[in-house]
């Protein structure tokens, strides 16, 4: 009787979660898809976003995504490798874990404020795609680091010892045994962190500017999709185009997630190795 009750409870909450997800996505798509046209995707923005397309925003977002990846992946994965493979100081490890947990729990608007005062003003980097990428990297690094650390810690010690036991150095072992096994897990963390950064408006609104121009360099100001969406809606410029922008945002995020999932699965089938994390 009790068990049945719990089952029903679990089923209902699961069902509600999925339903909510489907409803939200469907609602956005229904309102957004009619807006999307060739012009919407590939034309310049006109009249504050009431007319024209969102090409500058798409480009801003893609530049920011790429730069953020370049900054945050090596640092996040690097720290995780250092901590799991080299560092023996348990206090230091605990300290880094604590810091990264704190960083991950700071609201994104605070990252935005920090970026404005420190990166834009103090470092005089100005409003730019570059500044936005730095702020988003700060947000992405803790996630990338945390997921990578768990993945790396779950690699069986015997496997590492087998490699070292054959006379391999630490570095050789990391490159040819550890990383190949950890790639799927680490990639999952990277995608989680980067898609979050890609969808972030609050953290970038004070650091990226909000131009309508197509950014030509990473030191230009820009206006990534989420920010554009936020401004269109909050200033009541065009709800129609806001839905269109949201739809494009969702499609890009889905595309990134699904395609990496596909490659990770293929890779995993090829190396036939899965670590639980």
């Amino acid at each position: 009787m009790k068990e049945k009750f719990i089952k029903v409870l679990i089923f209902t909450s699961g069902f509600i979660t999925i339903l909510l997800f489907v409803v939200i996505i469907a609602y956005i798509l229904i309102n957004g898809i009619p807006v999307i046209s060739f012009e919407f995707l590939f034309a310049n923005t006109l009249n504050s976003g009431r007319e024209g397309g969102i090409l500058p925003m798409i480009l801003s977002s893609i530049y920011i995504l790429i730069l953020t990846a370049i900054f945050s992946i090596p640092i996040g994965v690097g720290i995780a490798i250092y901590m799991t493979q080299y560092c023996k100081n348990i206090l230091l490890i605990k300290f880094i874990r604590f810091i990264s947990r704190c960083l991950a729990s700071i609201p994104s608007i605070i990252y935005g404020l920090f970026g404005f005062t420190f990166i834009v003003l103090f470092l005089r980097l100005g409003w730019s795609i570059f500044s936005a990428s730095l702020v988003l990297s700060l947000m992405a690094i803790p996630t990338i680091f945390q997921v990578s650390e768990v993945t790396l810690n779950n690699i069986p010690l015997n496997l590492i010892e087998s490699s070292l036991g054959l006379g391999a150095t630490r570095l050789q072992t990391i490159i040819s045994v550890i990383i190949p096994i950890a790639i799927p897990g680490i990639t999952t963390g990277i995608i989680l962190a980067l898609t979050r950064a890609f969808s972030e408006a609050a953290a970038v609104m004070y650091v990226v500017g909000s131009t309508f121009q197509i950014p030509l360099s990473i030191f230009d100001t820009g206006r990534p999709l989420p920010l554009h969406l936020y401004i269109l809606a909050s200033e009541g410029i065009s709800f129609e185009n806001a839905y269109g922008t949201a739809t494009v945002l969702i499609f890009i995020v889905l595309f990134i997630t699904i395609s990496t999932n596909y490659f990770v699965n293929r890779y995993q089938r090829r190396i036939k190795y899965e670590i639980k994390s």
Partner: protein, 247 residues
Amino acid sequence: MKLKVKNFNVKINNKDILNNININFKKNSIHALIGPSGCGKSTFLKSINRMNDLIDKFTFDGNIFLDDKNIYDIDEVSLRKKVGMVFQKATPFPKSIFENVAYGLRIHGIKDKKFINKKVKESLKASALWDEVKDKLNSSALNLSGGQQQRLCIARTIAVNPDVILMDEPCSALDPISTFKIEDLIQKLKRKYTIVLVTHNMQQAKRVSDFTSFFLNGHVIESGKTNQIFLNPKKEKTESYISGRFG
């Protein structure tokens, strides 16, 4: 003597793990290490190829000599080339069968393709795996059965030309037939290598080894020819252990 262990003590976290170990390992022999769980066999084995150096708070004193050379006077990489190790659970790398065996050669900077091919083939033959895998060298090593994986790990170890092979319960995860194959293999390998074999299986120690040392709580209670240890142990503790009265 290939390997000499003199007054060797190990502490981990300041806890005594091994106390005053003295064992000599004869060249081209199989030396079994037996004893109840937790008595320090694996720790001892990993001291020989300095794998314990990885453990934080590992300290030791005493000496281990390989060919009369202190193992701490040999650099880690050359030592581990000379002293290979096979674990309880097979640990193939997530690479092809061929690449698993070639791994040791590649990390030592060997590029000559012909040489690598030849070495891989030789090693797979020596580990009695060649006939089973010769047609699928490029398929993943993780497709092999447990016993085949274990033989692959042996092939991988012998590919780098070690002198000594340390085996930590290499059959404990295997079925009787695979176990038999590995035991057979171990006996063939002793012609070229000196083998240290940790086993929980008394019958296995009896069947394959030339010498046996009995470990208990970090001490070596008794060490000697396998026949002598099993047929006529000098110490009471040894006798009660091999007759199955504890452990």
